[in-house]
Assembly symmetry: C2
Homo-oligomer: 228 residues x 2
């Protein structure tokens, strides 16, 4: 059902894909300029922070002490983490200077450019189906539906606790932290089937487990609590 | 059942209790020197880090960016957080210079000196009842039992998931973090009935909820998962 994409090279400031690896994601034969994130154009006008969040979560590793322990969290493109230490060094990233813990955290976030593009579309598809989400312009809707199936308005739930996830939670922040995070059914894989939005607290509770492991774990707790 | 304590003033470097508020915790009429933590003397010889952990968790607030955002986590006595900003300033703690988020986190950790002393004893009582714990010297055992009842060897479970908590987890650390943390049934109260040891992952999953709220929350998740 997925449509054929244009796939022409688009310019990008990213230095981690050689020979113009960034590709236009519009449908083949589209009119107008090529673009990587045309389906986020509506959120770009109505909810800039959400557009930025989707692109960031889809394409970047999460925070890690990057330049130094004191420099605070920083991010890098997920596909850069597919390159070897030797390939990264001339690109300005000295993996050997980082603590092994940080290296492991970053390397485990590695994903291909194509996977990241799919994840961004999947997250956009989910966002438009949250209760209270703005109406999706028809061209964007049909583009997203061609990738991931028909919208069911208001159907998006937290990937972990399965409760409805109201769109306006994107506006809220508790102690400076967004209330909605991008979560992974299996934290090791960054792919559209595996990602979704979740409450921040749920994502933290899941920890390094897969969602199924998390369910097994909490089932065990309830059994022990109730047998007492 | 609690025995009467000596209660004489002991010297301390802490500046947050005026007029010698630190008190000897030995039984009234004891022989030898007064001491605040005599019941940790055995762990002090056999497991120094555990002794330090019990005292730290019982008496100190958890990490917060103290001197500055860049200074990293720091700690302060829990009873200091009962003093007003005006009382703390001449003691070298400028609460007004901290971000409101940090102030809230610290103030919510406030507890009296007496509560902290009881918590330290309770944690020691729990530690000796973990599977694989060293045998407790009889004088320490009877002291702890006089506060919190008879030992049941190997009976200590994680406060949250209720699985047995083996003593040797105190030695383990994953990514530099200890595997056992001190947890609170209700995170707002620092009292012996309310504290216990827990797996780090369980403590994180509990988050700001009470343990009962946590159980209700995970019951709801299991219901939603199973109704799908």
């Amino acid at each position: 059902m997925t449509i054929r994409l244009c796939g022409r090279t688009v310019s990008s400031r990213s230095r981690f894909i050689p020979e113009g690896g960034h590709r236009c994601q519009k449908p083949a034969g589209h009119r107008g300029r090529c673009s990587e994130f045309h389906y986020l154009e509506h959120f770009g006008r109505t909810n800039k922070r959400l557009r930025a969040k989707i692109i960031r979560d889809a394409t970047m590793t999460t925070g890690a002490a990057w330049k130094s322990d004191d420099a605070g969290p920083n991010r890098i493109r997920r596909w850069a983490m597919l390159l070897s230490d030797a390939e990264l060094l001339p690109l300005g990233v000295d993996m050997a200077a980082l603590r092994p813990i940080i290296v492991a955290k970053l390397r485990e976030k590695a994903a291909t450019y194509e996977a990241c593009m799919s994840v961004a579309k999947k997250l956009t598809h989910s966002a438009y189906q949250m209760p209270g989400a703005p109406v999706c312009p028809p061209d964007i809707r049909s583009y997203l539906e061609s990738h991931f199936g028909p919208f069911q308005s208001g159907s998006t739930t937290c990937l972990i606790c399965r409760e409805a996830l109201p769109f306006d939670l994107f506006q809220n922040a508790v102690r400076g932290k967004a209330e909605i995070e991008t979560a992974h059914r299996n934290p090791r894989f960054h792919s559209p089937e595996n990602v979704g939005f979740a409450h921040r607290g749920c994502n933290i509770a899941q920890g390094p487990r897969t969602v199924d492991e998390f369910y097994d774990w909490i089932r065990g707790i309830i059994e022990r609590v109730e047998s007492n």
